[in-house]
């Protein structure tokens, strides 16, 4: 088990070498469909980061205090999904009420990420890798920032490519996947610095 990894290593590794999109290929649906415009993509990335930190922290305690004592580990997928869905809904309502300006910028994306697999993935990796609370928190934050970085980069590239002529069969998602592949290769270059498995 990887229990004594420095949390900071986990943090940076989850941004660069174990990036949720570029090395685990999780959360692809919104990544591909909402990456047409940099501004929107970046807002979505921020919301994902927020939700990821929040749900990882929440799921950590639910796992330690409810799932393990009751022996419900085989139900963790279902329970995590339920908790993520519920907490996203509550965050959205609270943000709409308490921080209306932020809600305009980020909140309207929240319903979109309820079923984002990167969010569930983060919670499941946290359990599989047996992280402690601080490690989990930084892992959640790093994964979120990594996701944000990846979608912003893709959106920026796609915006730059706006005027270029793409072969017809590759327009839209096709070329997005190719760009993602090349980005993933580039990110592998970081693996000499630090890796987590």
């Amino acid at each position: 088990m990887t229990i004594d990894i420095n949390p900071l290593v986990i943090f940076f590794a989850s941004i660069l070498t174990s990036n949720m999109i570029l090395s685990n290929f999780l959360g692809m649906c919104s990544y591909v469909s909402i990456s047409g415009e940099y501004k929107t993509a970046s807002s979505l990335g921020k919301s994902v980061t927020l939700v990821m930190v929040f749900t990882t922290a929440l799921n950590y305690w639910v796992y330690k205090l409810v799932i393990v004592p009751l022996g419900l580990a085989y139900l963790q997928y279902v329970l995590f999904i339920m908790i993520i869905a519920a907490s996203v809904q509550i965050i959205e309502m609270a943000m709409d009420r308490l921080l209306p300006d932020l809600h305009v910028k980020l909140g309207i994306f929240l319903p979109l990420i309820t079923v984002n697999c990167a969010i569930l993935g983060t919670s499941l990796f946290m359990v599989i890798r047996d992280y402690n609370f601080v490690q989990s928190l930084l892992f959640g934050l790093g994964s979120g920032l990594g996701w944000w970085l990846a979608i912003s980069a893709l959106a920026a590239i796609r915006e730059k490519m706006g005027k270029t002529k793409v072969p017809r069969g590759l327009e839209g998602p096709g070329i997005a996947f190719i760009i993602t592949g090349i980005m993933a290769l580039a990110f592998i270059g970081f693996s000499g610095i630090f890796t987590i498995t």
Binding site: T40, L70, L75, L79, M93, A94, D101, I108
Partner: protein, 365 residues
Amino acid sequence: MEILTTVLSVTVISVVLALIIIVAEYFFNNYGECEIDINNGDKVFKVEGGYSLLSTLSGQKIFIPSACGGKATCGLCKVQIIEGAGPLLPTEEPYLSEQERNHNYRLTCQVKVKNNFRILIPEEFFNIKEYITTIESISQLTHDIKGFRLKLPDEETVQFKAGQYMQFYTKPYDKIRESVYRAYSIANVPSDNEAIELIIRQVPDGICTTYAHTQLSEGDQVKINGPYGDFYLRGDCSEIIMIAGGSGMAPIKSIILDVLERGIDIKMNFFFGTVTKKDLYDLDYFENIAARHDNFQFIPALSKPAPEDNWDGEVGLITEVVDRFIDDGSDMEGYLCGSPGMINACINVLATKSIPEEKVYYDKF
């Protein structure tokens, strides 16, 4: 035993989460009573806050057109909101022009009622009503197009302009669990105000068209609401050119019958394009009208007539036919109804005939 604890714990956890959401909703989503003022005091009512303006208004029996059902993908539900809407949302941006933004137009499906509102709604929206109709007759017009005549309830009438459309609701059927609605143009003349006629082509895998074609028979009930739309005769010219493809004939038919009935002095050219002869319908009907009225010309055209069609009429894409028939359109308006591809091609052709895009009106379906 293990099954029991699993069921029990999942139930308990779900209930706890549901309770938390209910409590959160009570605290956060409770905006109290809000007052909505329409058209500077014409109508004022109090509503429970926390829902979209679109659904709040439809709860008050004021129906704003919306083809997508509130998902911010059609952009039809815009109205002017003078006060109360808050900042413009990213989901609305694609649907509002610079000018509309300056005039405070917003999408009612995205704006949430959290405080008092002052809004302006065009008068014609108040004509929009919901009707539970009964199917009086169904006619098979071609192999994939049917005509439906929906009788309004006794004593009720509908006020519409020739060319407008209604929203047509399905009931759940087969694997479709939800009621959906789609927009269809009205094919009958406005003076025939006790019924609505629709022309519906069956689209493969179309939820609503398949419902209309396979689930409905005479005597069934259908919920509709409307009328909506700004596709109607402007008539600031001496001659109009109307182009329709397939089931796009519906609003054009209504306009033609309305012009003839009201004796409006305007010359009409109706181009009706389909692929083969088996896609054509109402041919005799319009040829009859053309024989009796000097100001109406009917030009059906087939793009790919089959050998057995024995077709001696016009052949070619409808744009080519229009190009052959019309020389100078500087005193004409264009009315188009059909697929987006056809409409865009027609706009281009009409532009070469000196009919600018502002004078071309269309419904894309």
